[in-house]
Each structure stands twice: as C-alpha cells, then as structure tokens.
C-alpha cells in the first residue's frame, strides 16, 4: 500500500478540515453581529444558514475521506497521488509562488509606479521565469502590450489609469488627439 498521506483522500480530508475551521470561525464572528429590533430577518440569519450548509457538507467530506483512508484500495480514484504543495520538492510550485509574490508586489507598486511600468516588469519577469529567452521579443511585448492597453483605455474608453513617473504620456497623448 502506497503512502496514504500523499493521496487525494488525504488532501480531501485536509480540505474538509480547512472548511470546517472556516465555518466555525465564521459562526463565532456571526454571533457578534449587531441585531436590529423589529426586523424579521436579522443580519446574522442568512450567513448562519450558509455556515450550517458549509459545515454540514465539509463534515460529510471529512467522514467520507476518513473512511476512504481507512479502507483504501489501490484502484480507488481517491488513492491517486495528491497535487504537490511543497515548494522545496517541486519546481512548478516554486514558480507559482514566485508569480504570487509578483502579483502581490504588483498591487503594492501599482499606484506608485503606474500601470505601464509595473505591468512591463511583471510581464518580463514572468516570461523569464517560464523559460522565454528572446530578449528582443520579451522587451517589446512587455512594453508595447501595457502601453497599448493604457492608450486604448485612456483615449477610447476614457478610463484614467495611474501612470506614476510616466504621467507625462497623458500630456503627449492629449496634444496628439
């Protein structure tokens, strides 16, 4: 018998525990909601119905996964290996975490550096990360796509997007159009 801790059944068990915890924490939070006198539906009513549903199905998943782990056969679909979440063991996982960090940095720097610069940097880093090495194409795509999108939104859709140090582009475009 293969390692049970590396199966879909075990990952389902962990998933069910996570949702059970979310349900419990949400329930505790919902008991602190303000009540409104003379109202037939209180602010906590609807979320609590949803929490009951969430906890009910998470509990079913927990029980089914536990039973599967106890009586697991090799040909069970739940005996298949679970997706890896450990970045030390898996390069793909490392790359995903780097993309997540890039995304977080993207939000943090969006207002400061503006859409075009921050998008060009994100584009370039992601391309490099996934193995693109043609620098001419990488640089042109990274600059032209965000610039083109900004131009489209600014001129046609009249949506003003932060430009950071490149704010002068607006004056140039205003002069031309």
């Amino acid at each position: 018998m293969k390692n049970k801790f590396n199966t879909v059944a075990f990952s389902n068990l962990i998933g069910s525990v996570v949702f059970l915890l979310i349900g419990i924490v949400s329930w505790i939070m919902s008991t602190r909601f303000q009540t409104v006198k003379g109202n037939y539906v209180q602010p906590a009513d609807f979320p609590q119905i949803m929490i009951i549903g969430l906890v009910f199905f998470a509990a079913i998943l927990f029980i089914i996964s536990l039973l599967k782990l106890i009586n697991m056969k090799d040909d069970d679909p739940e005996a298949a290996p679970a997706p890896v979440l450990n970045p030390v063991k898996d390069k793909g996982m490392q790359a995903s975490l780097i993309v997540i960090v890039i995304c977080i940095a993207y939000v943090a720097l969006f207002s400061l550096l503006g859409y075009v610069i921050v998008s060009a940097l994100a584009c370039l880093i992601i391309m490099f990360l996934i193995g693109k090495r043609n620098w001419k194409v990488m640089i042109s795509v990274s600059i032209l796509v965000p610039l083109g999108m900004w131009l489209l939104f600014y001129t046609l859709l009249k949506v003003n997007i932060p430009l950071g140090p490149l704010a002068f582009l607006r004056d140039i475009v205003d002069m031309i159009f």
Partner: protein, 510 residues
C-alpha cells in the same frame, strides 16, 4: 398586431444604410470590448451614449443594440480561448468552451458560440416582437417571493456544474454564498465580517474582479506551474478553418440546446433584475439535465457552448420587453437605453404601443439588425480570434495577466479591486489544484445577493411567515422545477460517477 406596419417598419430599418453602418460599428466595438476581461456590454453602451446624441433615434438605438449584442458574444471569445469570461454572461461558457480549446477545437467552439448567439438573439427578438405585452404582464407579477424562488431555481443548477464531486460542489457553493455576505447587510446596513472602517469592503467583494481573479489569474498561476514542470503543451486550434459557421451535422446536434437556451434566456431576461448571468447557468443546467449523455458535459462539447450562448443573447430580446411594454428597464443596459429613448423625447411604456407603434416595430427590427451585424463581425473575426491560442504560452500568460489586472482596476478605478482579483486568483488556483469546482462559487456570487435581499424583503413584508410563499403559484412553480432539477441532477450525477468508476477500473485492469 398590425402585420403591414410591422413589415414596412422592418423594411425601412433594413434598407437604411445609416442604421446598418451604425449597428455594424456598434457590434464591432461590442465584440472587442466584450472580449476584454472586465469590460462589459453595459460599460460599452454607457460609453457610447454621448456619441449617439446627434443621431436620429433608430440609428442611435441600432448603435447601442449593436454594442449590447456584440458584447454578449465578445465575452465568449476570451471564455473559450483563455478560460476568462470577458463578461459575467459568458461565465458558464468556460465550462465547455475552454475544454474544447484544449482539445484543439477552438475554431469550432467559437463558431458554435457565434451561431448560437445569433440564433438566440433572433429567437429572443422574435419572441419580443410577438409576445412582449403578454410576457411583460407576467414578469411584472414578480415580487420578492417569486424573485427568491427564481434565485433558488438558479441555485438548483449547482449539482449539474459541480463536476466529479457533488459534495465538493456544495462546499464551494456554500462558501461562495458566505463570501457574498461579507460587507453591509442589504436590509439593515449592519457590517458583517468587517468593521465599518473597512470602506473598500462595505459593499462586499466586487464581482467582476473576483471573476477575473478566479479564472484568469488562477489560470496564469496554474499555467506557469505546469510549464515549468513540463506538463503544459502548446495549444493549437483546428489546423485550418474551412468554414466560419458550424456544419449541418453540428447544427443538427445543437439546435435543441439553442432553442431551449433562447427561450430560457428571453424569459429570464424579461424579469427585471435578472439577466444573462443567471440565464446562462439555468440554461446550462436545464440542457445538461435533459441530455442523454450528461457525463460528456464539461468535457468540451458544442452543446454546452450552444446552451449558454443562445441564452445570453436571448436575454437581449427579453430585456427589451419590460423596457418597451412597461418603461421598466430589465437590466443595466436597458436602463441606459431608456435614457437614450427619453433623450429623444420618447417615453417607453404601455402608451408607446398606442402612440408610437411604428417606433416600437423599428426597435424590434434594429435588434434583428444588431444580431445580424454581430454575426457578420463574428464571421469576419473567427479566424483571427482562433490564432490567439496558437500564441506561445510563455508570452500569452503574462499578457493575459496584465490585461486582466487592468480590467479589474478599470471597473471601479480602485487598486483594492486589483488586490481582490489577485486574492481570488490565489484562492482559485488552490481550489483548482484540489479539484473544488469554481463554477458553483461563481453562480453563488451572482445569485447570493439576489437570494438574500429578496428573502429578507419577503420575510419583512409577510411578518416572518415564510409559509406565505406557498400562496404564490409562480414561486411554487419555480420551487417545483428546482426540486425536479435537483433530483434529476443527482440521478444524472450517479450515472456519471458509475461511468467514471467503470472507466477507471477498465484502465487499471488493462
């Protein structure tokens, strides 16, 4: 009905070059806008209203309807090609559209989407032409109880879109409903799960950034992971697209889905407050339940695409029914159209059928032209659109990322929404990884607020007596159909699970 006047009005519109040109321009703009994640048909119509100021009424309405219909189809392009619905109405198209792209059938998926959108739009327009006063009367008898049951009926589709595991689908759905309750309570204004100082979340999580995050950002993170691991293959579309429209064999296979989708779309579109985003899921669930092979739905079949795309374009006709018959806009786009009518000195409503009947008929005709224009633009563009999937993934993923994040920002011009988009992207990636389906969350994000708001309104009107809902025949019809759909979907799901288990046993035996 004055058929002579109807015919002459249609002829007048179809032979007016200005109307044809403006509608074509509108459809082109709509398709392009709809294909950009985060840009909706509503935004497109709102943006172009000022341009229609100087035009006559019918060309102006043609321009706006062109954007409306084009935007509905445009949303499916990105849903099919890059797994990111361009508009909320295209959300259900990803379920079968994207697997078709992964199977090398992007061209077929797009042509089915285009053809179904066109047929749905035309059927919707025909229903609108002949039945608008009757449907409008029925739609206006919808109170909070009926709307609540409509939402429940929509939610009954969850089992159908849960994929392999109903339990995981239900967990996703309840979690989605719980997410909807974050922010101010819609009836009392009480903060839930947040403090009043968290102003960005007072209205809850913005829907479109969440949608873009769960599909586009999650797809990029997952795609990068697969590329680095060497699992991602370069996608290609059908090597050569000989025809831009589906062949007769495909049409024969999908026409029942188109027909039922269009009728469902028109009816739901006619209900004020319900639109294409709800209709597509209801149509998908109903068509899957009625299918002889429900196990194939979600694996990439044209029927799935046809059922959703005909429904969302059928909505365009449906939404015009309360607008013209009662002067009540059915959705955000028709609200803008109402403004355009008033701007031209025409007040839609029951009297419009008495005092301005030729205009009513010309509007019907303009909707037909708009659907034709969408077909022309779609046919011209299908070869170009399919090339997108052949672009190297190492370039496509970063480009999807920066365009999607811009869409998330543009909707409210708020950096917080970009953060929401990324947060939902990470969440969606983890959910995908562990096979918790995302479609139920999407459905509940659409229906959750409608469900809660109408439940609270109903309970307050009827002083907490929920049993009062049994006095409404419409509500009971929805409840009955919802129960039937749930039972039938569970039975179907059992059949699917049996087939899958048998397949996996055969594979392991061989």
């Amino acid at each position: 009905m004055d058929f002579g006047l109807l015919f002459s009005s249609y002829l007048e519109v179809f032979l007016n070059p200005q109307v044809l040109l403006m509608t074509l321009v509108g459809a082109l703009g709509g398709v392009l806008l709809g294909a950009i994640p985060g840009m909706t048909a509503t935004m497109g119509v709102a943006l172009l209203v000022p341009f229609s100021f100087g035009m006559d009424l019918i060309p102006a309405i043609g321009l706006l309807l062109g954007i409306y219909c084009g935007g509905m189809y445009g949303g499916s392009i990105s849903a099919i090609l890059i797994h990111t619905p361009g508009t909320p109405s295209a959300a259900a198209t990803t379920i079968d559209g994207y697997p078709m792209t992964r199977n090398g059938q992007a061209g077929l998926a797009l042509s089915v989407a285009m053809f179904s959108s066109f047929c749905g739009g035309i059927i919707g327009a025909l229903i609108m032409t002949f039945l608008s006063p009757v449907i409008a009367k029925a739609a206006m008898s919808f109170g909070p109880g009926e709307m609540f049951m409509l939402a429940i009926f929509g939610l009954s589709v969850i089992i159908s879109i849960s994929g392999k595991s109903v339990i995981k689908g239900m967990i996703s759905a309840f979690f989605g409903m719980l997410i909807c309750t974050v922010g101010l309570d819609p009836t009392n204004g009480v903060a839930r799960f947040i403090s009043y100082s968290q102003t960005s979340l007072l209205e809850g999580f913005a829907f479109i950034p969440a949608l873009i995050g769960m599909f586009a950002v999650a797809e990029v993170i997952g795609g990068v992971e697969k590329i680095v691991r060497g699992e991602e293959k370069q996608l290609t579309s059908n090597a050569r697209i000989d025809r831009v429209l589906p062949d007769m064999k495909t049409i024969k296979k999908i026409w029942p889905n188109i027909l039922s989708g269009a009728v469902i779309g028109t009816f739901i579109g006619a209900i004020p407050g319900a639109g294409g985003d709800i209709a597509v899921f209801v149509s998908y669930g109903a068509n899957k339940s009625a299918s002889r092979h429900p196990e194939l739905w979600g694996t990439g079949i044209p029927n799935g695409v046809a059922s959703t795309e005909s429904a969302n374009n059928g909505c365009s006709g449906g939404a015009m029914i309360p607008l013209l018959s009662l002067g009540v806009p059915g959705d955000a786009v028709t609200a803008v159209l109402l403004g355009a009518f008033i701007m031209k000195g025409i007040q839609p409503g029951p009297m419009m059928y008495v005092s301005n009947l030729p205009i009513v008929y010309r509007v019907f005709a303009a909707l037909m032209v708009a659907n034709l224009a969408m077909l022309v633009v779609g046919c011209a563009g299908v070869r170009f659109f399919t090339r997108i999937v052949s672009v190297e993934k190492t370039m496509l993923y970063p480009v999807i990322m920066v365009i999607s994040l811009l869409g998330a920002y543009a909707i409210n011009k708020n950096v917080f929404d970009v953060g929401v988009c990324i947060g939902f992207g990470i969440f969606g990636w983890i959910m995908n990884k562990y096979e918790f389906p995302l479609s139920p969350i999407l459905l509940t994000l659409i229906l959750g607020p409608m469900c809660e708001k109408n439940y609270a309104r109903f309970m307050n009107i009827h002083k907490g007596e929920i049993m009062e809902i049994f006095n409404s025949p419409i509500a009971m019809t929805f409840l009955g159909v919802a129960i039937l759909v749930i039972i039938y979907s569970l039975w179907n799901q059992r059949k699917i699970t049996k087939t899958l288990t048998l397949d996996s046993s055969l594979k392991s035996a061989s």
